[in-house]
Assembly symmetry: C2
Homo-oligomer: 234 residues x 2
């Protein structure tokens, strides 16, 4: 095991803490996007008592091809062992370290409508290492109510909530019209990662990462394929 640990670690320069872009290979964004899926499958296998897995089994569980999986894992220096496969716990740990999931990250949600409610109550966040530590809404009727064990705070408290909880990630679940203002306020308060559900493009400074989930656009992409296939509307 010692060799296995040292080997991979020595090759993961690009994703080790403090490693600059100049060291080792960068992990491509598409690979980063698939890593959480591998962790999910590995944890599920581990819960079922599975000790080793093959690239075929892991790939099938994650919905990718075995070739894609092997390539993705090669960026982390994980190659498995011929005839043995991957050690489930070790690989899960290795990917989690690469993703920075070994420390809990604190999240603030802005916009406690239906979607904000759903996100505040989403148990999978906790399972994956995220703690929702603050809820913010602009509506006086919502402020002061308790959602998922947290009292909703007014917009004016955003900066204080972020600082007090040392939150590094903000989720925007507001209407599109106010999303940029909320985004700017979150950045000013110190968050470095933003996940937005608002259907509009947002601007963030270079040091802040932005991920956008646009549910209506996802449906439009499905409609495109349906349209191409059927050649008609419905």
């Amino acid at each position: 095991m010692d060799t296995q640990r040292t080997g991979p670690r020595a090759r993961t320069g690009a994703v080790e803490p403090g490693a600059g872009r100049s060291r080792g290979r960068d992990v491509p964004p598409a690979t980063v996007a698939r890593l959480p899926g591998y962790v999910r499958v590995l944890r599920s296998l581990s819960q079922d008592g599975v000790v080793t897995t093959s690239s075929e089994e892991l790939a099938a569980g994650a919905g990718v091809t075995p070739a894609q999986l092997r390539k993705d894992l090669s960026f982390l220096g994980s190659y498995g062992r011929r005839g043995v496969g991957y050690d489930v716990v070790h690989l899960s740990e290795q990917i989690s370290v690469a993703l920075g999931l070994t420390t809990q990250r604190r999240v603030v949600i802005v916009g406690i409508g239906n979607l904000g409610h759903a996100l505040a109550s989403y148990s999978v966040f906790a399972e994956r290492g995220f703690a929702v530590v603050g809820l913010i809404d602009a509506d006086p009727a919502v402020v002061g109510t308790t959602v998922a064990g947290l009292v909703v705070q007014p917009s004016s408290a955003l900066s204080d909530v972020v600082s007090a909880a040392d939150a590094t990630i903000g989720i925007i679940a507001t209407p599109a019209a106010v999303a940029q203002d909320v985004c700017t306020a979150l950045v000013a308060a110190g968050v470095v990662g933003i996940l937005t559900f608002a259907p509009r493009a947002l601007r963030v400074p270079p040091h802040v990462d932005l991920r956008a989930v646009d549910v209506a656009s996802e449906l439009q992409i499905l409609a495109f394929h349906d349209h191409r296939r059927t050649g008609t509307g419905a």
Copy 2:
């Protein structure tokens, strides 16, 4: 305008109704994924009374580079006119036709928990050409309740609801453990596009398109970048 209409149309073979993959250029998936964003910005410009737009303005609104925008639109045969730019209404219409958004598509949502509630009530769906026509849940306490004007039906009614409403798209907002069974039932009922929020990989036959939104994975991707930058947990 006639030339503009004929020109582009003649070049959009790959996305015209009934066009096979062999005709013209295929539209790359990444381009398809960006088209809804362009429609969103164009509609917003149109509402503000703007008649023509530049690739710079449109790109900025959609959060892409002008070069990316021009390349994406070239797949639809839309090149704009030097010194004039793009006709806002015409381009919006052209992309909408390519995406198949000119006909309303009917959507069934399975799993009416917090997230299903939020999706059922999401007004942006209607604005973008989608009608939620059916809600399904397995919980007897939820079945029979009215959400967003629709009465929630039991799982046993899934096939009937899909057929009766002629729904072509299904949204899965159930817990991960039952997502594959729901997916299989939706496919059997005749939907050809599925959008899933369940945090697990799903299998669909080749004629069905699957889009997956995994909110916790989005946070994990943000955590990865934070981790690389700070070199620490929090």
